[in-house]
């Protein structure tokens, strides 16, 4: 018997497999990768009763059009996504995020677009037939590591689904509350004092807008130039997700999940862990405001973030 698989009829803009990412390899230049919005990643797995660290399909902006072959599956989609389920008899059903569906052989999932966000997730009960590379399923397209030879998916490719006998899941859904404010909380960076008093002031006072130069590596912002009065280069050193670098042009760059492991631009600030999902979901044109918090506050906000994620997970159990 051939195994169930998705046939990719339209790949979408950037469709990859992601999970929690890859650790303990920064020292040889391999970045963390992993689902860029960790909460929606966990929730989608939870809705289809997977372990929270199972591999899922991550898509950006326009998602894929997938046709199921040779099987029957339970699936769910999270994010703020416009998608349809196209039945084999051509009947179209509008899909809702944060709830599970059954898909029959021949049916299609048409992930038309994200709404006011950048990323969404598709999980299938049981996961996909993939191999881990360095303990992770994540596709790192820059280093070409992970499933599908480390490349984003293209038309006509297949994604095989793990099958252990289909069992229809009971209805499972989360009442996910969309909330958005444009404040991004940060902790001052290790080179904060490289910037003029005026620049320090501007950084927390003015709005910065997300430009079109954004991908899984990082997000370039536009706004008032930040004047560096010490040196626009530092000796290259390690980076982490959320670091905000300011190159010589004075425009900040926020580093995301596929960032380079070392870099030589001064660090003005770092986005707090609790706000990383929110930042990753920003789309070009959005204006954001940076707000400084202390380390203690950041740690508390992270606890709140985890509690909120757990509250959603508990809705399902």
């Amino acid at each position: 018997m051939t195994k169930a698989y998705f046939e990719i009829l339209r790949p979408g803009v950037n469709t990859t497999i992601q999970d929690n990412g890859r650790d303990h390899l920064y020292h040889i230049g391999i970045t963390v990768s992993g689902a860029i919005d960790q909460r929606n990643y966990k929730l989608v797995n939870s809705i289809v009763k997977n372990n929270l660290d199972e591999a899922v399909i991550e898509f950006a902006y326009q998602g894929p059009l997938l046709r199921l072959r040779n099987g029957k599956i339970n699936f769910a989609i999270t994010g703020d996504i416009f998608f349809n389920i196209i039945k084999e008899n051509s009947k179209i059903e509008e899909g809702k995020c944060y709830q599970n569906y059954v898909l029959n052989s021949g049916d299609q999932i048409d992930i038309i677009s994200t709404k006011k966000t950048a990323y969404g997730y598709l999980a299938v009960n049981g996961g996909f037939t993939l191999e881990k590379t360095w303990k992770s399923y994540s596709i790192n397209t820059k280093a070409e590591i992970g499933p599908n030879n480390g490349k984003k998916y293209s038309i006509n490719e297949k994604i095989f689904i793990k099958e252990d006998g289909f069992k229809e899941l009971k209805e499972r859904s989360i009442n996910f509350k969309k909330s958005f404010n444009n404040v991004v909380k940060v902790i001052k960076g290790t080179n904060f004092n490289y910037f003029s008093d005026k620049a320090k002031n501007i950084f927390f006072k003015e709005l910065y807008s997300v430009t079109g130069l954004v991908d899984r590596m990082g997000m370039r912002l536009d706004g008032v130039n930040l004047e560096n009065i010490v040196n626009t280069n530092i000796k290259s050193e390690g980076l982490v997700r959320g670091v905000i670098q300011v190159p010589a042009d004075g425009k900040p760059i926020i580093l995301l999940s596929d960032h380079g492991t070392i870099g030589g631009y001064p660090k003005i600030a770092t986005v707090i862990s609790a706000d990383l999902d929110k930042v990753a979901q920003l789309i070009p044109g959005t204006k954001i405001q940076f707000e400084e918090v202390s380390l203690e506050e950041a740690e508390k906000l992270f606890k709140d973030y985890c509690n909120e994620t757990n509250k959603y997970l508990n809705e399902l159990s």
């Binding site: 650790d23 303990h24 390899l25 920064y26 020292h27 040889i28 230049g29 391999i30 963390v32 590379t133 360095w134 820059k142 280093a143 070409e144 590591i145 480390g150 902790i187 960076g189 290790t190 000796k235 290259s236 050193e237 390690g238 980076l239 982490v240 959320g242 670091v243 380079g260 492991t261 070392i262 870099g263 660090k267 770092t270 986005v271 707090i272 862990s273 380390l295 950041a298 740690e299 992270f302 985890c306």
Partner: protein
């Protein structure tokens, strides 16, 4: 020794070994890296996700749901490094072809430094280099130090694509492009040797922090027939 420990955001520790960049400062950074890696392996320390040694800094990222800055800072502060038990370091020989089609910036360097191509090559191939760090892209080594007379700033306008295998120089440093990548280093040749091999799961990066590297020149024929 670590001069100062601070936080980089809420989920990473920034260990500063001072402002100097030299082999002795960097070996200290790397000793800490090896020591902490061992603690992780032996499960004597929880929550660390990544350690990044660089010229004179060590950055340790951690899982904020497992530990926090103050806990880890206490542990790192109290680490005693036994300088006698240095990790064994490799000596790696890298073949480089410097034919015109690979040595993209010879003209520029020769003019800027006011010396002949041969002098650049003699100086470049004469020395042993030390790997300060590996990264930015997977497997890219940052080596040093170049002889004074071939030190040169990076390109004013970086290349959008530097070919894989390109060997570059800038300031006192040399590197090797393990992938095709944007970059601004002066390219003096190209190596046919695989610098990063993702199929070698145990040891994908040929050159790791602390290793010694020596370049040697090969002909274009040897380059084209190279087999790792």
């Amino acid at each position: 020794m670590i001069k100062n420990i601070s936080n980089l955001g809420d989920a990473a520790i920034y260990c500063d070994f001072g402002s100097e960049v030299n082999e002795s400062v960097n070996s200290n950074v790397i000793n800490y890296h090896h020591h902490i890696s061992k603690l992780i392996e032996e499960e004597k320390i929880d929550g660390i996700k990544n350690i990044t040694p660089s010229y004179n800094k060590l950055i340790i990222s951690f899982d904020l749901s497992v530990t926090n800055f103050l806990n880890l800072k206490e542990i790192i502060k109290n680490i005693k490094i036994d300088t006698n038990t240095k990790e064994p370091k490799k000596n790696i020989k890298i073949p480089v072809c410097c034919d015109d089609e690979y040595a993209l910036d010879f003209e520029r360097l020769s003019k800027k430094l006011n010396i002949s191509k041969n002098e650049i090559l003699d100086s470049y191939f004469e020395k042993d280099y030390y790997c300060y760090m590996t990264g930015f892209i997977a497997g890219m080594p940052f080596l040093g130090d170049l002889d004074d007379k071939i030190r040169c700033n990076r390109l004013e306008t970086p290349r959008v694509k530097v070919p894989v295998g390109s060997v570059g120089i800038t300031e006192q440093f040399a590197n090797i492009y393990s992938y095709e990548s944007p970059g601004g280093w002066n390219i003096v040749g190209n190596t046919p040797k695989k610098i990063f091999d993702k199929l070698n799961l145990k040891n994908p990066a040929l050159i790791k922090p602390g290793d010694k590297v020596m370049f040697y020149q090969i002909s274009k024929k040897e380059y084209l027939n190279w087999n790792d």
